[in-house]
Symmetry: C2
Subunit: 97 residues, 2 copies
DNA sequence: TTGATAGGCAAGTGAGGACTTGCCTATCGT
DNA sequence: ACGATAGGCAAGTCCTCACTTGCCTATCAA
């Protein structure tokens, strides 16, 4: 489960997708493709982005809702929190009361 | 630079190494090999662990200091912080005053 | 109903990365 | 000096994964 989060974040393109979703939730596949090409110069096929979104969904970093022929994608940052807490030292560091 | 952090965290074995270092700093290569096999059943070659440590060092997640014929490895959790903050929404969430 | 739009499924290709194996260097104890 | 210990370098294998290509399904507008 949390293993998938690390794999999902390993790819640069997937991180760019999260960058786009953090600016605006509810984007469709085509919108993400367009924004990746205009904002980052990433000229990838639609199918490539679709597969990336599937990986992000499997990692629970992206939630999707289908409406008609559109499928909207929302960012979910919750799985990111356990990444840092995993390697926090038990001994008091800077921000421990 | 921060790109290397994601790549470093992508591998399960490297995450186990960080798990061992968070329990005790200053372990040598052989100590890490031994602990991986006893605590996690990971029977990898010494060279494999050495290469993993090199990746972790390149990502600045591990600092190393050489003393005589020993090389001690210390954990550095600092690069982990920017991972989560990258996708934090500007709009106030739960922990925003 | 027809055409256009939004998305999905499946197989194939190519490159990067994890791991091994073999050999070499450096430091310590006796 | 010698053997033992701790670690490094380099080439080779194998497999995962990112990406493409081709074709198929579903919804909307005219």
């Amino acid at each position: 489960m949390t293993e998938d989060v690390f794999k999902a974040l390993a790819d640069p393109t997937r991180r760019r997708i999260l960058d786009e979703l953090v600016e605006r939730d509810g984007q469709t596949l085509f919108e993400i493709c367009a924004r990746l090409i205009t904002n980052h110069g990433l000229g990838l096929s639609r199918q490539a982005i679709s597969q990336h979104l599937a990986v992000l969904e499997a990692a629970d970093l992206v939630h999707s809702r289908r409406e008609g022929r559109y499928k909207f994608h929302d960012l979910n940052t919750e799985p990111l929190e356990c990444i840092v807490t995993r390697w926090l030292r038990p001994d008091a560091r800077e921000s421990n009361p």
